[in-house]
Symmetry: D2
Subunit: 417 residues, 4 copies
């Protein structure tokens, strides 16, 4: 099935990434059933993507990566990979976002002559560009939001001692490093938070192999527990005041979740392809010829296509808006209202795309019929996988509705979170 | 949580059934997680329900049953049991429908002095009333509809040889008898079909333990294969001409699927209870007090309640209409347009209730949040279970839309099926 | 088109009312276009209904009425009349509710030996039964809710002086009497409110002929202004403390709005009939034969039928629940939680029915095509009329969602109103 | 209210057009209530737009226009104008599309050295660029689709005699010229159709002042009747074989309806602005401060914003796709599958945007409350205007669903139209 209106890359680097994704997707797909069943992590897929440079996509070329800068391009790569396997796509994204963020910091710092900041970002980018480590951003905690981590960092000689309990630690089975927000209490200017980079083998790090979910079962989203882990000063990057929705939160989340939403769109596209294939197959009874000739199936096919077109357009538009935002403003430097506006727009897009992805998979199931309900049919996995979308925080759907409305109405954005 | 507007029985027999269901539901619930995980049949629950007479609910009291006659009452029993476990409820329903149908035949035949028919029904009812056998109606086949079975019955001395491949054989793991439609070809008045009652241990019967689905995993809906099974004449009841949507099809399906829809409503009610419990729990952070106090959660709670109220009302109304229909008309004797009208109305109700049941579970998941996505959380099971609803045929959703429209518009009901 | 599943009366009195409604509906329909265009009140229809006793439907037979007691029956009458003209139906309802309410008070008072209360109600009922007066309940005010009227009643010698500004005074063009809530401030037990009955020709009463709305243009819902109107003590009936959602509010609103919702359902049914007629007509091109044969139109026809079945069922179930409530409990005597439960259920039904009525009209327009958009096509009027539904307070849709959720979650029902 | 994510022009010419639109919109808005009430055409607005060059937007600068080439830019202009008044916007669009189409023909012909074609287009463009005439494309007929006009052109000496009855002749009250498709029967290569340009004052032209619709009442969409009108050969441009969905149909409709959809989006944006203004106003009771602080209103506000973001994105993406298509391919020269693909995508966008526009206006009404139901409130007009969207053919919603599905499934696109 030709598909002229799929999301498309906008730069040569993006096209390389999309091509890589399309090449790996079938292998990811072939492994997806087993890992879903076992709840095991697709290590082979990860290693193949790592060695082909997919994981280093957002690292500048001169530092060893593919040089993808555009959020559109990055999202397209994740989107195409997710057509093979959604769990693999959201897992590798939790590594790639570090590359994207640090490349953005690096470009911004270089342009502004902020040497120390540039050097710190460059050192991380070189590490990521070496393709030798896997890093997982692990920020969720039970009962709170990322800008209010309960994980604590206590100052000690030469650094911090970090303690806390993170959940939804996607990619944790193969991560060499974890990156997590922690709160530093009681300092002169008030509580603040930093981003700690913690090697997996640090004393006090425990990855609890407890990921057992409805779907996205191959994503390895285990709990990660820190118990008095020592983190040296240079591995604890200040992010901003604790409890405040600031630039760090918005900029990281914006890109990260546009790409995660692209993964859910990819899951939906995969479901749609299964449905269209099913309809175009010949059948003998009750009516010979392809099922597609049954006009009663045309309205639901068309509704699926409408949902798909709208979801793609909405995601693409906000990814372009993110590109414009990051092109115009340096890291951490955009006017707050601009940032709120684009983040608000993104939250609308996120909700919309996730809802539509779920509806598309549901419509595909109905078009395929009872066979799609069997555990061995890929649609039954996609149905479980795609439902994870609305749980990808921040924000939860109800939080998002509140946030969108408050920003729209000029009220305090974080009131009620 | 009090719930004054749940579906309620309308007769003493119905109240006894509802009470039995409510008593067994917690045990079914306690076993549901394990059987879902294993894909195993809840034999203990089945035996307990069998020995307490639940399975014989629709058998007249004088023949050993509870004497439930009303479709409303029967549906309420299934509904309440399904709040404990949906898979158990739809499985036992596939036994109970035989009781209901034969009791209807029996009452109708007695009233009309049709002695032979009365006697045949009575014999089955006595068997069912003895609580010693489990019978499973097994009628689905791949790529066709129940009124056009491909399973064939070939006349032989003293009866028929039946061969065919049935799917979705719910309850098969514990069924002592199977009841299946088969086609008799090439007779003088054209092809016709009959309902064969086949003991599980008949030569040529194979239950293929291949039920492995997204949800309703404990329902034992295996394939059942007949290979030249001998069925004596008296166990092969003529149903009508092959390929024709007739009384047998409509009357059986009407009651059977009202009760199956009641099961899906029960699944949704169970999801709703989990969500309300979750909201009413105290939390410490970020805001002390019950989550219920967050006004952003009120609109989605209310939407869930609206869906629930509408689904209950719609199901109840069509169950009442079925009661009226069966009270007014004897078995197989209603004017065709009356039957079409009530069946059309029922198909609207079936689609509506199944959709709403799915939406209610989905809303409940969103209200509970990420925890509901964990495999160990009952909501993640309910989410899988409830999606079976629209696959319960006849008809599939798209077939149903066509059927509803054709009858509404005065076109031939089976055109396009 | 036969329609076996329309709402049906449940008693002989109800059948008489339904029959009357069906007899008058075509006349109302014939006048509807003109009154809609002019924004004028259908006085002829009102007088015909008045002289035939329709307006006195809920008055006991012995007091001159039809003796309709059941909310189901009353709603069926309004529903059938609304198929002719929605505006006429909601207008006459604002008279009939007084009959219903006073008959309920009267039966309750008689049964409990409350002689004074019985006598007062009987006097009003005799007046209504005489068919000589039209009374309009006029309770809406801008920016507040009915249980918090800003209209004030100041004690004077022999009665009260009432001042205030009511809006949405449906039926006002022909009302002989107005019945409105007013607040009495500063008394010993706190502010309270009473229901004033004010003759149209009382000094200080002004009916401002300003009703000019999107739809329901023939309902005469003008502003009614009271300027120091004298109301004698016996025409000012205490209702309860001001600002409290009490029995008076709930019981009146419950019945009143079930019947108003039935009117909107009737509007939708009328739209549906137009659509089905259109589809069943022969056309010559592009395809000869009835349009109904186009299978692409079948899914939307079926969706309309599903909406209709669900709306009818939901309305009927809550009307039955209201009947049960009023049968079980005397006027003002039901336990508060019971009342809240049934009122909550009713608010879910009201929202559901109004939404579905709007969707049905919309679907009908799409099925009919561009012709339905013409001002002269009745569907374009129905499209405007039906949108009034959600504005019929109490409550507005968003208030209703909050109320439903609060009662469901055990929070204070009026918090946030 | 700032609105950073409104549709934006992409070229200097587009920015000039957008600026013009924004300048004229308030005047259009100021006149809209009167023309809506009267059903009269906003001649003043039309003249003002004409003299400011808005109507000549798509005419190349060297031929007297603004030089807008991009469909995005053209759509943005219509979108902004429609925020003032939708009827004015769809009316002027029926003139502007001639400019756009002829400019596309002209650029294409010039680039390919097709001198005659270039000259013919240039002559029309010079006329349009002179700002001295208004031309209305009038192609709808009852019971058929534009590629199957029943209007006939009979060859006579020096030209054709055209007879037929067109409906929905938007802009007709002020049109100097009409452009209409007519069928030429019985020629050697089969029936074909051409586009006749007919001066209003030609003998045999009658504009029947019968436009009287639910909404878009100021659009002057009268019937236009041709009775043996003589059209000289040079004013009858061949379009292609009669009854075939060909390039002419697709390319004209694509641009025309993207811009019409932009008008409906503008109507929705205007409704949204009214709702947000209402919510941000101070109120005194029942709760002081802006209504916006009521958290129960936040979910519906957010849903409106989600709809808006998705509608804008979907429209913008298809407008960009149209631009890409027209940039890549010359007039009438694109491969058929490419054209089908982009037209299919556009039909999904059209349905989506029109539905969402309707939903947005509906949500805005609910947020504003009962006041929005008054005839004098602009929302009650927007509610009527926006409903015209789905009636703007080709295709009707149900035709569109069939078309989208057929092209998606590789079936014949026009089967069933």
């Amino acid at each position: 099935m030709r598909d002229r209106f799929e999301l498309a890359p906008i730069s040569p680097a993006g096209r390389r990434l999309a091509e890589l994704a399309s090449r790996h997707a079938p292998d990811c797909a072939a492994r997806s059933e087993r890992h879903d069943r076992e709840g095991s992590f697709p290590v082979e897929s990860l290693r193949a993507l790592q060695s082909d440079g997919f994981l280093a996509a957002c690292v500048p070329e001169e530092l060893g990566g593919l040089g993808v800068e555009s959020v559109v391009d990055y999202a397209v790569g994740i989107n195409r990979l997710a057509r093979g396997d959604g769990a693999t796509a959201i897992a590798v994204n939790m590594h790639m976002i570090s590359g994207w963020l640090n490349a953005y910091i690096w470009r911004s710092a270089v342009a502004r002559g902020q040497e120390e900041r540039a050097a710190r970002a460059e050192s991380i980018l070189r590490l990521l560009g070496s393709r030798s480590v896997v890093i997982a951003s692990v920020n969720s905690e039970a009962g709170t939001l990322p800008h209010r981590p309960r994980t604590e960092a206590v100052r000690v000689d030469g650094g911090f001692r970090v303690s806390g309990h993170k959940i939804f630690g996607t990619l944790s089975p193969v991560a060499d490093l974890f990156m997590s927000l922690a709160r530093v209490k009681g300092e002169a200017h008030g509580d603040w938070m930093g981003s700690a980079v913690v090697p997996r083998d640090s004393p006090g790090v425990e990855v609890v192999e407890n990921w057992d979910a409805l779907g996205m079962r191959a994503s390895g989203s285990n709990d990660v527990i820190y118990r008095d882990c020592f983190v040296p000063e240079e591995r604890f990057v200040p992010v901003g005041p604790w409890g405040v929705l600031g630039h760090g939160f918005y900029e990281f989340t914006l890109t990260n979740h546009i790409c995660l939403s692209a993964a859910f769109l990819g899951v939906a596209e995969s479901a749609r392809a299964l449905a269209l294939d099913h309809l175009q197959k010949e059948q003998k009874e009750p009516r010979p010829g392809p099922r597609a000739q049954n006009p009663l199936l045309h309205p639901p096919v068309a509704e699926l296509e409408i949902d798909l077109a709208a979801a793609r357009a909405t995601l693409e538009r906000v990814a372009r808006a993110a590109d414009d935002h990051f092109t115009e403003h340096g890291f951490g430097e955009s006017p707050e209202q601009d940032l709120l506006d684009v983040f608000r727009e993104f939250q609308t897009a996120k909700l919309f795309v996730q809802r539509k992805a779920i509806e598309i998979v549901d419509r595909a199931m109905t078009l395929v019929g009872g066979g799609a309900y069997m555990a061995r049919h890929p649609l039954s996995r996609l149905y479980r996988d795609v439902r994870a979308g609305p749980f990808m925080q921040p924000f939860s759907p109800n939080e998002a509705l509140g946030f969108i409305a408050r920003v729209t109405l000029g009220l305090a954005p974080d009131d009620g979170l």
